[in-house]
Amino acid sequence: MVFAQARWDEPLIIQLSRVGKIGFHESHSYDRTVLDLIPSRLRRKQPPSLPEVSEIEVVRHYTRLSQQNFGVDLGIYPLGSCTMKYNPKICDAIAASHKIQELHPYQDERTAQGILQILYEASDFLTKIVGMDKITLQPAAGAHGEYTGVLLMRAYHLDRGEKSRDEVIVPDSAHGTNPASAAMAGYKVVEVPSNSEGCVDKEALKSAVGPRTVGLMITNPNTLGIFERDILEIAKIVHDAGGLLYYDGANLNAIMGKAKPGDMGFDIVHINLHKTFATPHGGGGPGAGPVGVTRRLADYLPVPIVEFDGSKYYLDYNRSKSIGKVRAFHGSAAVVLRAYVYMLLHGKEGLQTVSEVAVLNANYMAQKLRKIKGFSLPFGEGAPRKHEFVLSASLLAKETGVSALQVGKRLLDFGVHPPTIYFPMIVEEAMMTEPTETVSKQELDKMIQAFERISEEAYAKSDQPATSPHATTVTRIDEARANRPKTMQLTWRSTNPTS
């Protein structure tokens, strides 16, 4: 395997600046003395020190930088919990139309019937996929959906006069956004441990719930990729205590058409459209985190909701029990549009195939990787996983000193992206791996071979893993330096940009 990532030694854009260059057209059509109209106490005296560069320089700079970045379009990217799948190009192509790009959120609804119908139908499809009754498309991401969901729980309890509920329960394997979202809503976070099968410990849960319980936030399959079989029981425990059950939809890719959170007893579900429904992750975002709820929570959803009166689609702001707004306007329409296109392209058969093959790929890989020397699959070696699994490199670390981190760095040398490492925290030297359904067997086999090779290197005491990566744009990075107050540089203003 020969891989080398591009290296361009590209300076900062500000370092390409030279006074006098421009990257825009000056217009001849008016007179610039209008700037003098600005009252002097408001007028900017020094123009901002932005780069002065021409268009070609901007295009070259970012084209070069892009080559120094890894994406799904380049290779396997099995970041567990992130569902880094291939997104059909037609989704982006359709979203490039001015018929979506150049729509204003406040334009007359009569001139937005197309997008409103799309939002309405997407709401309908998503609601059905998760088995909920009503949905809001507004949240901008999963975590934002979580916060919205916790606010819905809060509204529900307050509406029932249950003011003393102030504890949100999360499993110890939960994603960091779950406790963070609960805390944002002013709630205390109560952690429940996992049992030996990696699932929620029902006894611990029973003793955790009570009159202070707001609800339980979990994902199913859980972060270990294991389906919580006892979910109905768990739901009952929570519901009996007067709490609500929140479904973190990050793992929805495992169960579409196979099981619905609604049927499992969940009251609230967020869906990460960028994970399951094909918005490319964009280097970190944008995404979208619609939140579906059962009937009893529907009244609390944020405004507006897209409705249809039999002849036209409209935005319904008239919802007196609504929690209000969690962001401006009506949500990320361009993201929802992509998800809508994705759902049409797949259809009921395709969405089910997505989950089936995502699970097949994960289990294929899990079974192959766990047999490689130094690796293991904690919490039930043989038990089926869903769309992801958490490998442990703890034996390897113990026996050879090569940690999960080093395995990850060494994987980079093979032109693949490593799994998520050191999460969930309940697995030592965790490598949380989610191949997704869009990876071919050939790519899976290549990744497996890379693990084999790294294991061999580790046991052969090669210094390759410890000194890796070698093939990337830069070699191992000094992350500590970026965090030490004395060396920290968070903008080019705190550095010497011309150096």
Partner: protein, 462 residues
């Protein structure tokens, strides 16, 4: 065959059989047997059957065709999302697979491209706002404001947050959902009905040792620009609370940067910097602050410059992750994970393409249109434009009370003539009467504005 799918390489029978057999299974169903029968779905998903790419495109484009975009009608809407020219180079770059299909750079060595781009974004935002630090994006202006209020409370340990009356109503609504659950009390400060200026005595009355911060929109939601910022800032800092500014970033090409007013936290909407309106989303939340103390409390991802471990080359990686949810969990400064990186990249390209001269150019184009529009509209019988006696940037309030017509009727008339009129303010701010918020940017020509004035005249005279 029924299952084989173009986006799912292992979806054909032979691949499935081979993979199953290699791991000792007979069927995919076995992999789902751990789902209790009671909750295993029996029926197909109640969504349509799959369509081909061609069918999908024709169907969806058919729906989209029902929309009228700003290329189909002349639109004068702003109010938080604005129509600007997006240089073509931006879309050409942000659609490149390497940027588009990557994620949070957890492995910095293979993600230098996006990391450097985000470091540049932070730097550019700091140059524009004059602040010390910026994060690499929040969801939108409104959530950035919510985070700012919470951060002000965290930093000061105080639980009152003040805002001016003529704030963007949806931002205020969002601020509420961010503040209510943690018992931050929101207090409205009066603004003068004639000039729009913050009523400084009211502000001073409401400022106290309980005040976490005061928020000012600059330019304001209604387009006027507060002149007494220095005075306001002094009063706010006087009581030890934070001064939070909400900025429309294009205006900072010509207006004093918030740093000149000792602003502590700047929030704003980055959409005008090279992103399309997209019916209101995705958007780009700008968040910047000054000083290290505030930095440590900042929400969101921050990228830092460092070197390789051998010290030989510059490199970039995530910094101060201990503020973030994936490390700090319930003690994090925010729950944000997925952010708006791609729009931040677009903003970097926009600011780089325009540079200092281009920002001044686009500001002067906007001021030219703003002035021309004020001159044109105020000539119409019964029309007051702007309704506030102040300096306006890009947007202003037009009052129609004396025309005897409602904004909704007027807008109906305009729409029939192919024009989307300004935002009807009558339900947001009844005290402003029949008023609408009009927006004029570089995308409008004088002829467009003449057309608006002509049609308005016809409607008002009808």
């Amino acid at each position: 065959m029924a299952k084989t799918h173009p986006y799912i390489p292992n979806s054909d029978e032979s691949a499935i059989r081979q993979m199953l057999s290699e791991i000792g299974l007979q069927s995919i169903a076995e992999l789902f047997e751990d789902i209790p029968a009671a909750i295993r779905s029996k029926a197909d998903l109640p969504v349509p059957s799959k369509m081909t790419e061609l069918e999908t495109r024709r169907h969806v484009e058919g729906l989209l065709a029902k929309n009228l975009s700003t290329r189909d009608v002349l639109s004068f809407l702003g109010a938080g999302v604005w129509s600007h020219h997006v240089p073509a180079a931006i879309d050409a770059i942000i659609t490149r697979g390497e940027f588009l299909t990557s994620y949070t750079p957890y492995q910095p060595e293979i993600s230098q491209g996006m990391l450097q781009a985000m470091f540049e974004y932070q730097s550019l935002i700091c140059e524009l706002t004059g602040m010390d630090y910026a994060n690499s994006s929040l969801y939108d202006w409104s959530t950035a404001l919510g985070e700012a209020a919470r951060m002000a409370a965290r930093v000061t340990g105080r639980y009152e947050f003040l805002f001016p009356k003529f704030i963007h109503p949806e931002r205020l609504a969002t601020l509420r959902t961010f503040c209510d659950p943690v018992d931050i009390k929101l207090v409205e400060v009066t603004q003068d009905k004639r000039s729009g200026s913050v009523d400084v005595s009211d502000l001073k009355n409401k400022l106290s040792s309980r005040t976490a911060g005061f928020y000012l929109e600059y330019p304001s939601f209604l387009g006027f620009v507060e002149q007494a910022v220095d005075e306001i800032e002094a009063a706010v800092h006087q009581v030890g609370s934070l001064f939070v500014a909400g900025c429309e970033p294009i205006s900072l090409g010509a207006l004093k940067p918030p740093s000149d007013f000792n602003t502590d936290i700047v929030v704003g909407e980055g959409q005008p910097l090279g992103s399309h309106m997209n019916y209101g989303g995705p958007l780009l939340g700008i968040f910047a602050c000054r000083g290290e103390t505030l930095l440590r409390q900042m929400p969101g991802r921050i990228i830092g410059k460092t070197t390789t471990q051998d010290g030989k080359r510059d490199a970039y990686c995530m910094a101060l992750q201990t503020r973030e949810q994936h490390i700090r969990r319930e003690k994090a400064t925010s729950n944000i994970c997925t952010n708006e990186a791609l729009l931040a990249l677009a903003a970097s390209m926009y600011l780089s393409l325009l540079g200092p001269k281009g920002m001044s150019e686009v500001c002067s184009a906007i001021l030219d249109r703003t002035r021309y529009a004020i001159d044109s509209l105020r000539k119409l019988p019964g029309v007051v434009a702007p309704a506030f006696d102040a300096f306006h940037f890009m947007e202003f309030t037009v009052n129609f009370d004396k025309t005897g017509k409602k904004v909704s009727e007027i807008n109906d008339g305009l729409l029939k003539a192919g024009i989307q009129g300004g935002l009807d303010l009558s339900s947001y701010f009844p005290e402003l009467g029949q008023a609408a918020l009009y927006c004029f940017t570089e995308v409008h020509t004088h002829r467009d504005i003449d057309m608006l004035a002509d049609k308005l005249r016809m409607i008002l005279e009808a």
